[in-house]
């Protein structure tokens, strides 16, 4: 399995993703530079967290115009797996690969805390190793993580079962107090209709080690790796 992780100017979590994939999960990873064209064979491209181009405009609004994004969009259209974490999720929404938008947190502050997430669907590659209803723990850290979509879009998301992760309390209830940022329907992560593009605000790369308090993030990366392995063996 070949992972590509993009470094935009202002990416902060690119090395975290690389380190977690390499040293915790033993994966092969290549760092990709925003000014380059996407070249080479990859199974999954990760758009990491951070503040691409400073995010002085709308978050992710500049990054969608970077040279490498053209290739990423094509890669996604051809069925390649694309994972956007935090700022990566924002970029995917700006680029039109995912519906909706991420706006300022409801309390107007940056929020960093561990959250609980409920797995809503397990038939996308990103959650394929998980059970529906399973509870995961990992941190969020963002200023603009409030997911918003209009009613029609939301209905489509629900109809197509595109909501993969929801913010819940420790018992698994999607309550208002478990929603850190005011996201509509407690949405923490969604995929596209084709189920090969996934964006989430929480950070699985910061939850791949018992020492750091959770290994639940590894379950998402492992799901992706298993799905790719299965696809590869099916092609043989």
């Amino acid at each position: 399995m070949r992972w590509g992780v993009i470094t935009f100017p202002g990416s902060c979590d690119d090395h975290d993703v690389v380190d977690s994939l390499k040293s915790e999960l033993g994966q092969k990873v290549k760092l990709l530079w925003h000014k380059d064209e996407l070249a080479g064979n990859f199974d999954c491209i990760v758009l990491p967290g951070g503040f691409s181009y400073g995010d002085y405009l709308r978050c992710g609004a500049m990054a969608r115009f970077s040279p490498i994004l053209r290739g990423v969009i094509k890669f996604a259209q051809n069925g390649g797996l694309v994972l956007g974490i935090c700022n990566g999720f924002q970029i995917l929404c700006e680029a039109g690969l995912l519906p909706g938008a991420l706006v300022r947190n409801a309390n107007l502050q940056f929020i960093c805390q561990p959250v609980y997430l409920r797995v809503e669907e397990s038939d996308a590659p990103f959650t394929s190793g998980l059970k529906r209803g399973e509870i995961l723990k990992m941190p969020v850290k963002h200023g603009e993580g409030c997911y918003y979509a209009d009613r029609a879009t939301l209905e489509r998301l629900h109809k197509n079962r595109q909501v993969l992760l929801r913010y819940v309390d420790v018992k698994g209830k999607p309550s208002a107090s478990a929603n850190p940022n005011g996201s509509v329907d407690n949405i923490a992560g969604i995929c596209n209709e084709q189920r090969n593009v996934f964006g989430l605000m929480p950070h699985p790369e910061d939850a791949c080690s018992k020492l750091l308090g959770s290994e639940d993030g590894a379950k998402i990366f492992n799901s992706i790796a298993a799905a790719c392995a299965e696809k590869a063996s099916a092609h043989v």
Partner: protein
């Protein structure tokens, strides 16, 4: 247009009024005349004023600072560089420093705090180290003061805005409120970076003919005379000094950080220094001073953000996100290529010379020519008069008989847990990215933050600490306790101290009482550092924290770093096992002087701070460390502000799942003193019943008093016969107090 405007800015005549408005005294002006052998030009006057400012020259503090111990087997770089560097073994070292940004943060809290973070980050990566953790220590006025909410919100947002964006986690800190900071808040920022021992860089200029290269943001008019501002007291009119505050751009700093670290992998750099306070002037002259050479700058080559800037402005600008480096001749093109990749300027603006002069030209004309040593080594040093304040004796009087013991001590505990100084600070640290770089083992809220060192089994523990009330009541004892408590915080997570960085925040050094406080605090710190074997490797002095003649309490902040050999042994402060036995290392005495209880419940700031015996302090720490090394402890927590009752409550409610406790009162002293006395050298631990005998054996060997207090478990907080409360009630009180007051 720009030329025309520059002409209009023709240099003013150097008059006595102009000299004095630059904060240069008559004696100092005579020194300048002697150093130059002629009157200074306007530009030169500006250069002297910033280099001889308190902020840059340490002219009032230097004679005292040299008393601090700065050496140790692990110290690779002591004070005097951009940051201190300490060996952590395996070819790795850590660079760290704490620095103040007090004055700017009071004038413009968001940008003041943000650029404070930006500045300390540059100090770290200048050394070749990748910053991996930041902490901060904050002091605000009374929570009820009308400006406190605004200042706190702005400072916290500014720290987060900068640190989050640049991708360095804020893993810990502390925040206290007291009226003495109403008009002078403190913002002290600490950063630690990790560096290969063989790749440490310093701020030195060497090699005649080597190019001097300017990298990073363009230069604007922001922050001119920031260093001078930081060397003056506030008065009403000074609040109008907003333009002296710089504006931060964390995105550019992120690019600068990555570009510099990429460059440092190559063998191109001779020396490198951040353009911080006093900008281009201090970085260039200090680098030349360290290398014993001269430096020549062509100011016309400096990339400018604004038109019509004068040489004076270019030399004194404190625009952020800039670095100066001296490179090996012939590497210019390759250096420029790296910076181009990161979309940053890298321009040759000068060269190293042999003549030991600081020379600046502008459009072919010389605008400054000053001996380097006059700006650095031979800058003024003062032995300021010091005098013990006459009120000190009276301050230290405390007749406990006049302090009425509350009837309902449970209510008093709740009152303390909702005091701004003791209540949960989650509202603050929730706004900081605590996890980026995926090293954070123990996040804010614990006695010390803990990060792992990737690729090893080691960890680093970090803390910032300082109790200014103690220092106000007895600056010597306060200085001792500041160091001792920081080390104790590290011991509680299982770390041995390897070095500290100090940020010394005081009033005006021209006030003899302030200088007395300063000298006493330094003495105390020195004695504690020697007793506990902790070298001071970097630091910062911030004087003039006073308004209209009223100084803040003396506030030394200690940023201390500890090494953990086996990261998996880390212990947290919070009770985590029902049935565990609770034990106290150390002894509780009837010491309420200077306590948070006396202040918050009785409105008194008086008495003497708790007694401290450095031998006992060290014994308690060693005992705790040994117990953690042997994996005997389930939790360990320092007993400090608020005393034993507050420490126990924190053990119960600070963790993820609240747990009750039941203990018995064991010292026959006043009930309020048993609960809230801040006796030093105490650690409350929990452990399995089967481990108690082994802990007793260790304590006995170290001559440390050990008391079994009770048992963890249930949903009530019980201190028989004084307090019995539901644990959820305490948790709610503690966790909602600060946000409720900030609404």
């Amino acid at each position: 247009m720009s030329e025309a405007r520059a002409e209009q800015h023709a240099a003013p005549m150097v008059t006595p009024e102009l000299v004095s408005s630059h904060g240069i005294g008559a004696d100092e002006y005579q020194k300048i005349l002697k150093a130059l052998g002629r009157p200074p030009s306007y530009t030169e006057l500006g250069v002297f004023s910033v280099m001889w400012s308190e902020h840059c020259s340490y002219k009032s503090s230097r004679t005292y600072l040299k008393n601090l111990p700065t050496e140790g087997p692990r110290v690779l770089q002591g004070p005097g560089e951009n940051a201190g560097v300490v060996d952590i073994g395996g070819g790795l070292a850590v660079a760290f420093k704490i620095e103040s940004h007090n004055h700017p943060s009071f004038i413009e809290p968001y940008q003041g705090a943000a650029t404070g973070v930006g500045g300390i980050l540059r100090d770290i990566f200048t050394m070749g180290a990748r910053p991996i953790a930041s902490l901060n220590s904050l002091r605000f006025g009374s929570i009820d003061h009308p400006r406190t909410g605004y200042l706190l919100s702005g400072v916290v947002a500014g720290i987060g805005g900068y640190g989050n964006c640049i991708g360095v986690p804020t893993v810990g800190g502390e925040c206290y409120f007291d009226e003495c900071y109403n008009a002078n808040i403190l913002v002290n920022a600490f950063t630690l970076g990790i560096v290969k021992k063989k790749q440490i860089f310093t701020g030195i200029a060497k090699g005649v003919g080597n190019p001097v290269i300017y990298v990073g943001s363009k230069t604007g008019r922001d922050g001119i005379h920031g260093a001078t501002m930081a060397s003056e007291s506030f008065s009403e009119e000074k609040e109008q000094r907003r333009p002296t505050v710089q504006v931060g751009d964390p995105f550019t700093e992120k690019l600068l950080l990555e570009a510099c670290l990429e460059l440092m992998e190559k063998d191109f750099i001779v020396g490198i220094q951040d353009m911080g306070a006093a900008g281009l002037t201090s970085s260039s002259s200090e680098m030349a001073g360290r290398g014993g050479c001269g430096i020549e700058l062509d100011l016309s080559a400096v990339p400018l953000r604004e038109s019509g800037m004068t040489p004076y402005e270019i030399l004194l600008s404190e625009s952020q996100e800039r670095m100066l480096l001296v490179a090996k001749r012939g590497t210019e093109a390759e250096i420029q290529q790296i910076f181009e990749k990161w979309d940053l300027d890298a321009v040759v603006i000068g060269r190293v010379t042999a003549d030991q002069q600081f020379r600046a030209t502008w459009r072919g004309e010389e605008v400054a020519n000053i001996p380097i040593r006059a700006l650095t080594r031979e800058a003024p040093v003062y032995q300021r008069p010091a005098a013990r304040p006459p009120r000190q004796d009276q301050l230290q009087q405390l007749d406990l008989a006049t302090v009425k013991e509350p009837k309902d001590l449970g209510a008093t505990l709740k009152q303390l847990l909702s005091a701004p100084n003791l209540a949960s600070k989650e509202w603050i640290y929730r706004q900081y990215d605590q996890f980026v770089r995926s090293n954070t083992v123990l996040a804010p809220g614990a006695d010390a933050a803990v990060i792992r060192v990737k690729g090893t089994t080691k960890g680093l523990a970090l803390t910032v600490d300082g109790n200014s009330r103690y220092c106000y009541l007895d600056p010597y004892v306060g200085g001792v306790i500041a160091v001792a408590e920081a080390a104790r915080n590290l011991a509680c997570v299982g770390a041995r101290p390897i070095g500290l960085s100090d940020c010394l925040n005081f009033g005006s050094p021209e006030n003899p009482e302030v200088m007395w406080q300063f000298s006493q605090v330094i003495q105390g710190m020195r004695d504690a550092c020697l007793a506990l074997n902790v070298p001071v490797v970097s630091g910062n002095v911030s004087f003039y924290n006073e308004t209209d003649g009223t100084p803040i309490f003396p506030t030394p902040i200690i940023g201390m770093v500890g090494l953990i050999e086996k990261i998996h042994r880390v212990v947290t402060p919070w009770f985590n096992s029902p049935g565990a036995v609770v034990a106290l290392l150390g002894r509780t005495r009837e010491e309420l002087g200077g306590s948070e209880y006396l202040k918050w419940v009785h409105g008194l700031t008086r008495g003497t701070p708790p007694w401290i015996d450095l031998k006992m302090e060290q014994a308690v720490q060693l005992c705790c460390l040994e117990a953690i090394d042997q994996e005997l402890l389930l939790s360990a927590h320092d007993v400090s502000d608020g005393g034993l009752a507050v420490a126990l409550a924190e053990c119960c409610i600070g963790g993820e799942k609240p747990l009750g406790v039941r203990i018995e009162r064991h010292e026959m002293i006043r009930g309020d003193a048993f609960l809230f006395s801040e006796s030093q050298s105490r650690i409350v631990a929990s452990l399995k019943e089967g481990s108690v005998e082994r802990l007793k054996e260790i304590a006995a060997r170290h001559n440390v008093p050990l008391q079994v207090l009770g048992v963890v478990g249930g949903s009530r907080f019980t201190i028989q016969p004084l307090i019995q409360l539901p644990i959820d009630e305490l948790k709610t009180t503690w966790s909602t107090a600060l946000p409720a007051r900030l609404k």
